[in-house]
């Protein structure tokens, strides 16, 4: 999984690319944790446009990012959610917790 970032005015955008499964989740969690800690953003955006597959391991990644941002009293938004990923997130009811667009 490839992970890249932009950070502007305490708005951190994290771009995920590839398959987000259990194999990739640990790396993704650590990378997102590190970036949030380094940037201390008020808003984090996870861009999933180039995620080609996600299972419940990805739910754990998103929930962890949500918790980290809540600890900072910031917000988390998830955008460009592919159809397969959206179905996984809907089963988990994550749309009730995290903003999607």
């Amino acid at each position: 999984m490839e992970i890249s970032y932009t950070n502007q005015n305490r708005e951190l955008t994290i771009y995920l690319k590839g398959e987000l499964d259990h194999h990739a989740a640990k790396q993704a969690m650590a990378a997102i944790d590190d970036q949030i800690e380094a940037c201390l953003p008020s808003k984090a955006i996870l861009d999933l446009k180039f995620v080609t597959f996600m299972d419940s391991s990805g739910i754990a990644v998103l929930l962890r990012a949500y918790r980290r941002m809540s600890e900072l009293e910031g917000s988390l938004m998830v955008r460009n959610v592919p159809e397969q990923t959206r179905r996984v997130l809907n089963v988990a009811g994550l749309n009730r917790l995290i903003s999607f667009c």
Binding site: D21, H22, F53, D55, S56, A60, R64, E83, V91, A92
Partner: protein, 141 residues
Amino acid sequence: MSLEFPSKSANEGFARTAAACFAAQLDPTLEELEDLKTAVSEAVTNCIVHAYPKSIGKIRLKARLSENGMLEIAVKDWGVGIPNVEQAMVPLYTTGGEERSGMGFTIMESFMDTLKVRSSSGRGTTVTMRKKIKQRGDGEQ
């Protein structure tokens, strides 16, 4: 089809891709294929995380077709087993800590038509899932 592979996380992608390749002969829709891959990924991940928490063990993936387009997938391990299957299937229940969401069985149930879990403490677990692949072309213009 029957495949055996070690419980290494790098094999998750291999397992779901192999299942999708097998199912391709039924000419499934992209959504049906994605559902199948997601369910297989969950079942194999459970083996890696829960069945063999401290060792590398063997996982067997079996797939077969019946005449009416019913696809059956069985994922078997010889690991520690699930002490309480009913509890393990409750959404959000996990023994895997913050790295797991506890949604694996819920996703398998949602994305497949049927799900059966047989487990024996110390002897392993078999997850059997079925999904009917709609026959396209029948009755379509």
